[in-house]
């Protein structure tokens, strides 16, 4: 019988992580995306990183907007709470959740439409607040779920399924984020798990807003020759300049590095991340050189990937707010209510 039922995310046999969990504990329900959709590969990378980092599933909170990409939180870590909210408003919902409970690990999944059109305002301000979360844009240059309109990241000249060419300058989310003072900005490709997994790990370890722009081809509506977001184009043109490696928990990556400089970054949880950048002297701590590097690559029609910028010192939202280290949701009513005596004082002040 011809079955269209797709296999769920492919599995590594049942190794256990530090929590004694297998990778199955990090899976979700079966994907309903198109066979071959880049978003599914990203899901697999997320599952792998969370497993390898031994994140307790209950500490993870998955939040998304609306779109094919925004459906994906259902497909990983079914033991984590998820929130598939409304189009373009994931940043504010994640901000509020984080304000209420800083103990959770927040991963926000969005699409290029969700984040850069309807959600642009909220994205800008979540960056500005440096909300402690991973913010992953599954970037395919189109509106997948509404069937193939150009998004704000569509390249000039790329063609939609109907053949019309895009003529509006795209927004580069990485460039935008760096200009706005984001504290962690990376880019990767859904088809390259070896790069994406360590970037994800670094993003989770980072305290503050970690934006990951993942080029994720839409096989339905944007996999044509004209498109720079297609598998073929990206495979040809992708620049894996700044390789990433997560020291200690993930050694396969470092083994792959054959050339260039290492940038060692100590993250807030004490873990070390080593980044390899091909351009001599690439400084992932300099906004200016990141901008120049990206602009340069774009001018050469290349897509720079890797950890483009990081600032470990930027205070996150809670540091700015000076919130207690305890999650606000865990405060008892007694510690919050000033009581009748205090109200009596208030009464006096209104006389």
């Amino acid at each position: 019988m011809p079955s269209i039922i797709k296999p769920s995310i492919p599995l590594i046999p049942l190794a256990k992580n530090d929590l004694g969990l297998t990778i199955r504990n990090y899976e979700g329900s079966m994907s309903t995306l198109c066979a071959g959709c880049g978003h599914d590969s990203i899901t697999a990378a997320i599952i792998r990183s969370f497993f390898e980092m031994s994140l307790p599933p209950e500490r993870i909170a998955k939040i998304s907007g609306i779109g094919c990409s925004s459906k994906t939180p259902t497909y990983f870590v079914s033991g984590a709470h998820g929130f598939n909210s409304v189009h373009g408003r994931m940043p504010s919902i994640a901000t509020g959740a984080n304000a209420a409970n800083r103990s959770s690990i927040y991963i926000g999944i969005s699409g290029d439409g969700d984040s850069l059109s309807i959600g642009a305002g909220q994205l800008v301000h979540a960056i500005r607040r440096n909300v402690d979360m991973v913010y992953l844009i599954e970037n395919n240059g189109v509106y997948g779920l509404t069937k193939g309109q150009f998004s704000a990241t569509a390249d000039v000249g790329s063609r939609a399924k109907k053949g019309k060419a895009n003529k509006v300058t795209p927004i580069d989310p990485a460039l935008l984020a760096i200009s706005l003072g984001a504290s962690f900005v990376a880019r990767s490709f859904s088809g390259d798990k070896e790069q994406l997994v360590p970037i994800l790990k670094a993003a989770i370890s980072h305290r503050g807003f970690a934006l990951i722009d993942v080029i994720s081809p839409c096989v339905q509506f944007n996999n044509h020759n004209g498109s720079t977001k297609s598998y073929s184009y990206v495979r040809e043109h992708e620049l894996k300049d700044i390789e990433t490696s997560y020291v200690g928990e993930f050694s396969e990556i470092t083994a792959d590095l054959t050339q260039g400089n290492l940038t060692s970054v100590t993250l807030h949880d004490g873990s070390e991340v080593v980044f390899r950048s091909l351009p001599a002297g690439y400084d992932s701590h300099s906004r200016e050189s990141a901008i120049a590097y990206i602009n340069g690559a774009v001018a050469r029609n290349e897509i720079p990937t890797g950890l483009l910028f990081i600032d470990e010192q930027a205070p996150d939202m809670h540091q700015v707010l000076e919130t207690t280290s305890e999650a606000l949701v865990d405060l008892s009513y007694e510690s919050l209510c000033p009581g009748g005596g205090q109200l009596e004082k208030f009464n006096q002040s209104f006389k």
């Binding site: 909210s85 509020g96 959740a97 409970n101 999650a327 606000l328 205090q342």
Partner: protein, 631 residues
Amino acid sequence: MMASFGNQSTNADWLDSLPLSGLGKVNEFAIKFANVNGTGSASANNLVLKAIFRMGVPVSGKNLFPSNIQGLPTWFEIRVSESGFTARSSSPDIVVAMNPQTYRDDIVSIKPGGALLYDSSWPLSSDFERSDVLNVGVPLSRLCSEKFPDPRQRVLLRNVSYVGAVSGLIDLDYQILSELLNETFHSNPKLQKSNQIALEIGYQYVKESYVTPLPIRLEVRDLNAGKILIDGNTAISLGCVYAGATVAAWYPITPATSVSENFESLCERLRTVELSNPDGTVSNVKNFAVLQAEDEMAALGMVIGASWAGARAFTSTSGPGISLMNELLGLGYYAEIPAVIFDIQRTGPSTGMPTRVQQSDILLSAYASHGDTKHILLFPGNPNECFQFAVKAFDLADHFQTPVIVLSDLDIGMNDWVADEFTWDANYEWDRGRILGQEELSKIAKFQRYSDQDEEYVTSRTLPGKDSKGAFFTRGSGHDQFGNYTESPEDYIKVMERLLNKHKASVNWIPEPIVRIRDKAAIGVITIGSCEPAVLEALDHFEKDGIEMDYLRIRGFPFHQSVKSFIEDHEQTLVVEQNRDAQLRSLLILELGIDPNLLMSVLSYGGFPLTSDDVLTRAKRILKGWDRCPR
């Protein structure tokens, strides 16, 4: 010819010629202060308000200010009423005219037999002459220029001087005023002194130049025992603190701004905890998070996110914000996430008149969002209810896992009302609703978000970050009883019907209406929010005319069946509200299945706080047209 002019004459002649209406108005009158905004007059006017309050006389102040920062006309109206009628008065007995731009209209507005206080440093144009009012000229600017060299200070102190003059004219207790100034400037003896001088100047001048006090005047009473003078927004912010709210997200908008701003300052004081660091230093940590959002959609998004995570969270906004929140209100309703929204209503539509009052977001709030929704609404009518309903809103939102909109308005929110002292029940426990913790989860086989409904159609939820067993997916898309995505009509309908029933069930927790029943009255009157004082005063007038009417004030939605009985028990019911389209009446008709012919509308929606005259004239006009008219 004006009855009196300039600073050398007395007002003895005028006293003799006074029409009866102006005589003997002890503790029953209204003063209007006409100022230019941005000149610091608000604090001077509040001084008068507070002093009257401290004299033990019921009083209210209505600030009629423009949507502007400096240079435009603004009015402050004080209603003094020993009998407790503190609605805005439609015409003042005394006008303190400090704004030459509006002299003409201000003077025209004085009741015959009333008095005008103006700055006689410059002569008053004879165009403005009114023979039926007493013209009290005080050369405030000249007097202040002589005393205070700094021009900036002079502008401010001129305000205090007219307070002094008012004090002399109407027996406003000088001692109390003087104390209030000392309290205000307790940390700055220099300012204390100059303010006292300014007060004195005005006082002395009228004492020396006029026969005082006027027949319109104050006498000390003891009617404010157990009372405070407070605005509704402050009361709401206090309520949020007492309800244990920890997250506020908001976007500035008049007249809602002070709700969140006050909440933040209260928390800064009450919820900042000192921590000694290992290195011996001390740092302050905060048991709250106030987020100034980038807009109203973000504000409600943050509230929904925080509530989903388990905090008590709220936002404050006004009309344009409610419009922008529609989509997220639908999400909160359908995905069953608590959220508390304070809508301090102003005059719409669109930007409308941002500093004017209406109750005109009722229908939109009740059914906010596309698709089928019904929200829980609370309608406070005074600062006491603002405080109580703020707490109640969180209990309701948590209990019924849904957004709750508290519809206050600019009049309650930003004006000072005499209120009962706030009290707190030491036994109060917050109602967090059905939240399953680890213990409860361990007892069940499998957690399913939307299936185990109780008799109120509420299902249990879990909070993120706690237990994998409680994990579920929250979504605004079609879902079945288990929270799974669905496009099945049956599954979808099951959830939607439960939501409808849940809304109905919440009525038992909604504050009962305030009802006052006369014997066998044929006519009932229903109203809402800040309309109450004017409506009660109007009913008093009707009663004096021999027409008794029953009274009901709605305090929440869904409506109690008692509202329906009230309507059915009367031949005719008037619904008094401040909007064009009779929004409360509409909601009553729809939700109680009332025959529209039973409800007649009394609408007054020009944007100023309601007066009893507004109600009386309109109600009389309507009743005249009614065939069973009582008169």
